[in-house]
């Protein structure tokens, strides 16, 4: 049973927003040595895994060394992309003024150049979260995940496309930033495409060159083993990142919005939309680290530039505020959230049925719901 969508009065939304602002201010005032120590420790752990992974693969003729090497390298790439890269690129550690941890200078171990990613992610996705037509992360332009997207036979492959995307996720993210849909629609000029490509090509060459030419070449006769090891590590990272990221906004009951709904919204209403449009994943400390704390997607969307390791500390307070204002707080274990994503993908692969053609019965969008205003407790 889907949760009722909160129809907070503007005043209630304002109060909710004021609580979130106060929480944010408290977090900002706490920034300091602890955050610096935390992120540097994570960076140091990632570097050790990287060195260990690359080194073990030089002994890849021993199966345990190969497996260990692949595991270490995959973990290194996952931590680099998620807990370090994603969070650093949000500017969570800009206040440290360390060029190695600064959103302007950081590059991650992934084919997608960071400045293009920051454009679609930090601005479009985080500002217009889940607004169909404005947030390009709604279905990534290739999947149908809400009834607001009109069905056509292409979407019969919804599940297969998602599975395919999971395998090549880092390339998918890069192509996403090329905005092929906007090119096709004639909205993006070829000059803009060329400018983007100019950033992508060197990054791709560096990444591919390192993983598939240089390190295999350095392993001499073991080149095929190193090649396969690096490919496996990249694949593992792709699958993991796909799973975590798809659980952030696509599980059932996550709300999408129409443009009119978000027009002229207040700061408080913006906060409410961030909660409604995101879903958390429960898990252990290690799980949160490996997910880049995107397992606290709700807290992340409320405070995208606060160091992510602090999200778990405030999650209870956010959840409590949501309960008091009647704002649904979506959370669950990975298997449940991911299962829910694939159920949704399967459901929206098919054309809408029933009297409310074009509208899913479960009412996935806030616009579909005529729920009574929820009152703050």
């Amino acid at each position: 049973m889907p949760p009722t969508s909160p129809q907070l009065t503007p005043e209630q939304a304002e109060e909710f927003g004021a609580e979130m602002d106060a929480l944010r201010q408290r977090l900002v005032s706490q920034l300091g040595t602890e955050d610096a120590r935390y992120i540097r420790r994570v960076v140091s752990m990632q570097r050790r895994l990287e060195v260990a992974g690359r080194s073990l693969l030089f002994a890849g003729f021993l199966p345990p060394a190969w497996l260990g090497g692949v595991t270490a390298l995959a973990l290194s790439k996952i931590i680099d992309n998620m807990e370090i890269g994603h969070n650093v690129l949000h500017g969570q550690y800009d206040w440290m003024r360390d060029e190695a941890l600064n959103s302007r200078d950081f590059e991650w171990d992934m084919v997608s150049p960071t400045d293009l990613w920051k454009r679609t992610h930090n601005f479009q996705h985080h500002t217009y979260t889940n607004i169909v037509g404005k947030d390009r992360d709604v279905g990534y332009g290739i999947l149908r995940i809400t009834p607001e997207q009109p069905w056509n036979p292409y979407y019969l492959g919804n599940v297969a496309y998602a599975a395919g995307l999971a395998l090549i996720f880092q390339w998918g993210i890069m192509l996403h930033e090329l905005e092929t849909d906007r090119i096709a629609a004639g909205e993006k000029t070829w000059q803009e495409v060329a400018a983007d490509a100019q950033k992508m090509v060197p990054k791709v060459l560096r990444q591919v060159g390192k993983d598939y030419l240089l390190f295999p070449a350095l392993s001499g006769p073991l080149a095929p083993l190193t090649f396969a090891g690096n490919a496996t590590a990249n694949l593992a990272r792709n699958l993991w990142a796909f799973a975590i990221i798809f659980c952030g906004h696509f599980p059932a009951d996550v709300v999408t919005f129409a443009e009119e709904q978000a027009a002229n919204e207040s700061r408080g209403q913006w906060y409410v939309r961030q909660v409604l449009g995101s879903a958390n994943i429960t898990g252990s400390k290690l799980f949160h680290l490996l997910s880049g704390n995107l397992s606290h997607q709700i807290e992340h969307h409320l405070f995208p530039d606060i160091p992510a390791w602090r999200y778990s500390h405030i999650a209870e307070e956010v959840r409590d505020a949501c309960r008091r204002y009647g704002v649904p707080y979506n959370t669950g274990p990975l298997w449940k959230q991911l299962g829910s994503v694939f159920v949704k993908l399967a459901k929206f692969a098919l054309p809408p049925t029933g009297p409310a053609a074009g509208r899913a019965p479960s009412g996935q969008t806030a616009s579909d719901r005529g729920a009574a205003p929820a009152t703050a407790a």
């Binding site: 360390d98 190695a100 302007r104 500002t127």
Partner: protein, 370 residues
Amino acid sequence: MPAAASGSRGLLGRFAAPLLKVLTAPNDPDRYLEMINPVWSLNEVRATITETRHPAPGSVTLLLRPNRNWLGFRAGQHVALTIDVHGVRRTRCYSLACSAHGTDGLLELTVAAERDGVVSGHLNSDVRVGIVVRLSQAQGRFLLPAPRPERIVLISGGSGITPAMSMLRTLCDEGYADGPGEVTFLHYARTAAAVAYRHELATLAAEHSSVRLLRSYTRSNGGERCGRFDPRHLPVIDDRTATWVCGPAGLVDAVRAHWAEIGMSDALQTEQFTAPVPAAPADDGEPYGEVHFTASDRTVANTGAVLLEQAESIGLRPEFGCRMGICLTCTSRKTAGSVRHLHTGELSSEPDSEIQICSTVPVGDVTVDL
């Protein structure tokens, strides 16, 4: 020593460094080297603090051993020192106090704790032996010329003693201070106990025949001179005399004025120590001051609106995204002045810091690189 250093750097630079860069991409090789030893770096000057002492109340003397990227310095120059304080990386300039002829490879800085000084306070109370800091190469034009002038006058006040000390030690080490040269060291301090190098100054003056030490205390007697700067404190200044002055603005201005009066401005070199962080400006809500955009060289009277709007109001088109402080697309460099963050109310007065212009308002004069 320089030859050996450049030799090894050459070898490393030519073969190892480019390979390392590719292998460690997209990270800098330094990020791995520093895991083995935090002082290692391909290009950056980093230094280990090897000794700390407190030569006077509220002052700390640091001895630092730089890595091989350090190219050396000339007496009177300063370095920009970068250190993490409470998780935030901060950079401040400090004059070197050591002799340019030092043989132990160590650098010496003496730092006086300023009131509310984030970095000077940290260096004075929290820094321990073994900590690694970053340094710039030596910089600054406050230098002894070669060949040396016949007569040298070194005037300093308070913590401005450090470059004068470096010059004096250098002149003593190279034999200048045993004749025929003449060095007058005129130092201003509150009391004798506040002079960081008081013992060494006395020793140098005793050991080197042509060093003349003149100490003037503004809050006690007992010096060769007394009170604040007065031209009568000076030895004979003639056209064979070159003078260096370093210290607080009041001293430097008074000395500069006197040298202008006697028509000798060309023979005076000045270096002024100014507090890096201005006292928090008045912030009672009424906008005041001016906003200067350096890249476009435009200035606008502060209207109290967010910086992005003020820039747009005079036709500038800075990059922006959400305009609500989330996406950081509008992040720009504030080189000077204070801004208040609209959502957090936080006041930032740190020079050279990144700010989001869509959600910060200037408090008084602000300079932004736009």
